[in-house]
Symmetry: C2
Subunit: 217 residues, 2 copies
DNA sequence: GTTTTTCCTTGACGACTGTCCAAGATTTAT
DNA sequence: ATAAATCTTGGACAGTCGTCAAGGAAAAAC
């Protein structure tokens, strides 16, 4: 009996929690978009609320403070961005296919989600000053590293070789390329982006070791 | 005669200009320190003034607005940071010496000027959102790339070989290592920093091509 | 020594910030 | 339908921000 009564209350409680979480997520997504547009330094709660369908007061009903809200937004970013290349890895049957499709998706997301990515870099840098972001940032960063490593190690496997670099080295390299491409993309420097795209296959080959493979043309 | 008179006035004018510029630079340096400590998002003019020996009002006597002030501070950063490895390049006589001294200085400046470097990354990211920083950022970035390339190409030369990567690829790789090391350094993650230090020689060797050289031990 | 120019301080301004709260609107339970 | 719980609004708050101007202090010019 108490079981039945409790499970009923539990159902109610759970539904409330679900609803609460759903709205939290909704507001976190709105926050994410605002941050991506304005950057951390210029994003205010009223601006965030204006990008949602609610008023600014509601944010303190669902979030303890601004930090709580932004932290939740960062977690939303991770949900979106950390499995991007997995289908490429799964479907590729030749090293060339994997490499070329990776490069294509790499520069696709650069153009498509440029504002989201600049936000990521903004927040990662924020964590250099603000300790309270560091744990989340380091976790996301490690997930990004793992994502890159799935690509690189699979590429080496398809070429029947071993990667020439560590996961960390591979990640910082590709992330560095991405960061630079993002900067020049947003600066309208299309020819520099194109140049980076042209060099990316060679960079990848460098990371997995060049042995056995000819030119990239 | 007018020559003499003009040259006198010119001397006066020049001295005034020099004095004006000297104070501008002084205030820009104070700005640099404040930015390095607090980050772009949290740096206010009053805070900057408190890090100098003047009051906040004086900033608008020497600078048109906040942007003007910060731009000047960024230029000061460049003066400090862009020739760091040149003496290493000039003095090294063997590839091992160049590589090891480069690595040593790399992690020296990481520990010593950590706050200054996080500021650089902060401002570079700011330029992803704020167009008015982009020109300066791109210029500094290209100087950093050239600085890295002087090291890498000289290293290849000492090993009587050719670099395996482009200047852009070499830069983004080493800059990526630095960025990551900085993050973990500031997070107190000393063992990760040590690991990156241990891997850096291999990364360098990868960039110049491994041909002809044995292990790094 | 006096006048003129340059330099710097202080306080004020309007705008904007994160936070909180009282009260109304809406939904849910009974 | 009524009562209770939940959600949302919009305004008030104390504080901070960049900017500016009036006037005093210091330096320079004569």
């Amino acid at each position: 009996m108490t079981d039945v009564a409790e499970s009923k209350q539990d159902r109610i409680a759970r539904r409330q929690v679900d609803k609460f979480d759903a709205r939290r997520t909704e507001l976190a997504v709105a926050t994410l978009h605002t941050l991506a547009e304005l950057g951390y330094a210029r994003t205010s709660l009223r601006e965030i609320a204006q990008n949602s369908e609610f008023s600014h007061g509601v944010l303190h009903y669902y979030f303890a403070d601004k930090r709580d809200l932004i932290t939740e937004a960062v977690r939303q970013y991770e949900v979106v961005c950390v499995t991007r290349y997995d289908e490429v890895v799964a479907s590729a049957t030749t090293p060339e296919q994997l490499r070329d499709e990776f490069v294509a998706m790499f520069f696709d997301t650069l153009g498509q989600d440029a504002t989201l990515h600049r936000l990521w870099y903004d927040l990662r840098n924020q964590s250099l000053f603000d300790e309270s972001f560091r744990a989340d940032v380091l976790e996301i960063d490690s997930h990004r590293e793992a994502m890159v490593w799935r690509v690189i190690s699979r590429y080496a496997e398809l070429r029947a070789g071993e990667p020439a670099s560590s996961p960390a080295a591979a990640y910082v390299t590709l992330d560095g390329v991405f960061q630079r491409a993002l900067l020049h993309h947003l600066a309208g420097n299309t020819e520099t982006v194109a140049k980076l795209r042209g060099e990316l296959p060679e960079v990848i080959d460098l990371l997995v070791g060049d042995a056995g493979s000819g030119s990239t043309s």
